[in-house]
Subunit: 363 residues, 3 copies
């Protein structure tokens, strides 16, 4: 997959200079780049590595003096990471699962596959499932009965789509992603220990030898267009209404989206985020790694939560939160600074007590 420097620049809408006919097959850091790689030096501090590598062409910060860096060609990228998006898309050789439908795949005769759908070895597609045109069904993938998947999807190895899940166009699911299986919803015959603890804020009156009774998940999952789910991430089916993920939302590896959760459009969750059941999350919400969100609460649009934050109550739109339990970022920093000074504060109070008691002559 070779592209000239000129083709790359045109594709990403950037300016190219020098011998733009040079053929590029890969991208590399400056010091590791070979002659067919485009070196990435998007800031001046990365330019030093160019002399150690063998790149003829580089993607540089605007205004870089490319000729003095020993290059034959350069592309200027005003917003570097955005240019990287275009560049890496052009150069990505992909997983190469292969075209066509492999003989070992098991596809129910009632399933409907769009034009140019590929199905890799050992995949299983259930009765009545619908797969949109040009979608790639990876090795060992399971698509459940009646599931609907839009056009241009990529389901990587061992993805599992539960029965009747509805998924939009251009869906990407990394290996082991699990969509639309049973939510974990149980009830006890009488009030359970956790219900007691919640209502009394801390007392469990008596040991209760109760069994958990299962609430089945009938609500399924509805996922919008342009969604990406990471490896081993789970989106559980809703109980009565569907669990929902909005258009353009990206969720990293090992995340958990509980039953009945509603996630808006264009959110971004880093890895290991957990959203407990029935919580509603707005649009453009960004959650850092290992963030946890309690059940049955609401997170407004544009909320940002730092890594490891534990959100246990409603967060209004636009707020940036941190800590466990989550508070406004500036409050968290203030509390934390004070906590670090706390041992010294205790000494100061002890000294004051002594001084006051002496002054008093009493106590």
């Amino acid at each position: 997959m070779a592209h000239s420097v000129a083709e790359i620049a045109a594709a990403i809408g950037a300016e190219a200079v020098g011998d733009t006919s040079i053929s590029i097959t890969g991208a590399a850091e400056p010091a590791q780049a070979g002659p067919a790689d485009i070196a990435l030096a998007l800031k001046p501090e990365f330019a030093a590595g160019l002399s150690a590598g063998a790149a003829q062409a580089a993607m540089l910060w605007p205004g870089a003096e490319w000729e003095s860096l020993g290059l034959k060609a350069a592309i200027f990228a005003p917003r570097g990471r955005l240019a990287m998006a275009g560049l890496t898309r052009m150069l990505d050789p992909g997983q190469g699962y292969g075209a066509g439908v492999h003989a070992s795949a098991v596809i129910d005769p009632s399933a409907r596959l769009g034009a140019d759908v590929s199905v890799a070895p050992q995949a299983v597609i259930g009765a009545g499932a619908t797969i949109g045109a040009r979608s790639v069904i990876g090795p060992g993938v399971y698509v459940g009965a009646g599931a609907e998947i839009g056009e241009d999807a990529i389901l990587h190895a061992h993805v599992r789509i539960g029965a009747r899940a509805r998924i939009g166009a251009r869906f990407i699911a990394q290996p082991g992603a699990t969509i639309g299986f049973d939510g974990t919803s149980f009830v006890t015959e009488e009030a359970s220990n956790v219900e007691q603890a919640r209502s009394t804020l801390g007392e469990v009156a008596e040991s209760r030898a109760q069994a958990w009774v299962r609430i089945h998940s009938l609500g399924g999952v509805v996922i919008g267009d342009d969604v990406e789910l990471g490896a081993n991430t789970c989106v559980d089916a809703g109980t009565i209404r569907p669990t929902q993920v909005g258009n353009g939302t990206k969720i990293d590896n090992l995340c958990m989206v509980g039953h009945n959760v509603v996630i808006g459009d264009h959110c971004f969750f880093a890895s290991m985020v957990g959203i407990a059941g029935s919580t509603r999350i707005g649009n453009h919400v960004v959650l850092g790694g290992q963030v946890g969100v309690s059940d049955n609460i609401t997170i407004g649009d544009n909320v940002v939560a730092g890594g490891g934050t534990g959100i246990i109550s409603k967060v209004p739109a636009g707020r940036v939160v941190m800590g466990y339990p989550a508070v406004k970022m500036e409050t968290h920093l203030e509390m934390y600074k004070a906590l670090r000074r706390l041992p010294r504060l205790m000494e100061q109070v002890a000294a004051l007590q002594k001084a006051v008691s002496k002054a008093d002559g009493s106590e």
Copy 2:
């Protein structure tokens, strides 16, 4: 799968009124309900949606004036979520993996399958494995050599059961659940960095270029009856004695149960809970999402831990804990309230110091 209102009421032991011959095929929230759905309005505040939907029958709170809500029939559910358990079980169409043994499944001739066991495409069952009657082995599932699984199990897509695991009746495992593979147990030739840090509370005397030596897991896993494990949840094999999960315990997605852990009966763990090696957990313990429990400690019966709690030492029976490190819930709330006021406290102490120093005429 249609049921009359009368049949549903009888099955869940609830009172039905009106035209109880109406045929029901699904359940829905009031505003989304069609004429063949039973609408769920278990509290008065949900009744408003009924007029927007087309339900003829609803499940209502005790005492609801069903006729004035425009319904033709109603079921009264005294403990609503318990009624939902019965209702959703009746209406669940399931994953539909199909009956019989699929031709693509690979079953060792020495494996023994009970009556009416179904095996979906691409599943693998190892030598000497035993599967109880009526169990469902989903697509791509792996059951290891010598594993024993009880009657009426459902192993969803891509579940993996390690060699010689012993599992009771009515076991449910969601996709990617992994039971009975190697625990992560390593040792160094000399005391490791972490052993030094534990013994000195903070000092690692010297860089030690030691390799980790693997301790193999011979102890296997023993799981009781009526256990459910979530998607991608892991229960590791024990080292010498088995890792154990008691009867009726339910564990959500993406949880980790380490080697040698013993979990009692009827526990409930929300998603992303991690239990480190050799810890013992009593009966009826409830752990919120993302709770972590250290290795080699004991959690008593009926303990409840809030989401995100980090339990690093023994917790007595019946206690409700929160925080990191975990403390009693009321202690946590008190500490947290004080922490929020801490910046103001620091100002107060500074003012006091000034006042006392002035009064002293000294310092």
Copy 3:
């Protein structure tokens, strides 16, 4: 797989006494041991169980009076857990995936398998992949196009190796481990909410309805020799340069290693550890369960972090850290002790204020 007591002692380099010809087929705790088991009583407090069990031979602490414990033979293990490593390796019957290449496996003709590689049912090996001699490819495993795996690897059920991953010798991957698929790297056309929040420490100026643009992962993964990855653990591909895991590093279940991360040699991560993108981790680093590490930071050699620690900035070599955000362990303990006393401190300050105000006769 029977071994005499003498053979076991010789293999682990320990001293054996008594009738060392006794044949051993398993290991057990003292009270559960049968006559063909070696009982493990590595400390005096475990010896009591021996009389309840039927062991003829035991592995004991140095100096134990084995004959008075009713044993016919004993092995003395100076560093007990190290002896257990040797013992359990000898006695481990393994998963038993079977020898040879199963007929249901799908292996691209251009893949190269070394001598005595076994491939279990339903596995898939892509074009140009290379598997070293004696490696075991488990049931349903996927090895991507052009991936290279060294000698003596064990890939357990449903492991997925992405295209072009390069992995050293003696690699062990537990079920569902996912290596070398796309990192989660996105960029917005304009500065995103999270970029705004980072630069202003808390303010998101305006709602921005921006879509996330995908940066593809071209950098792959490079894994050293003697690495073990736990069940459902993910190591994402790098963007331009490879994500790296050094020799001898062991990572437990459900961990996340982000794109571009570099991990040194002989590290040990407990389960549910998350390392965000582009972070560098030194050699011999030990991270407890559920530890999170922010992106783009550096962790020095020999660092130890307690379970649940949230590391958000650089940690120098040799430091033992704890807490969220992580601080030195002794600082954490001091802060935490102070926090526990904080409610009392507030009362003391209130009393002081009263005393000072009375003394002043003012305020």
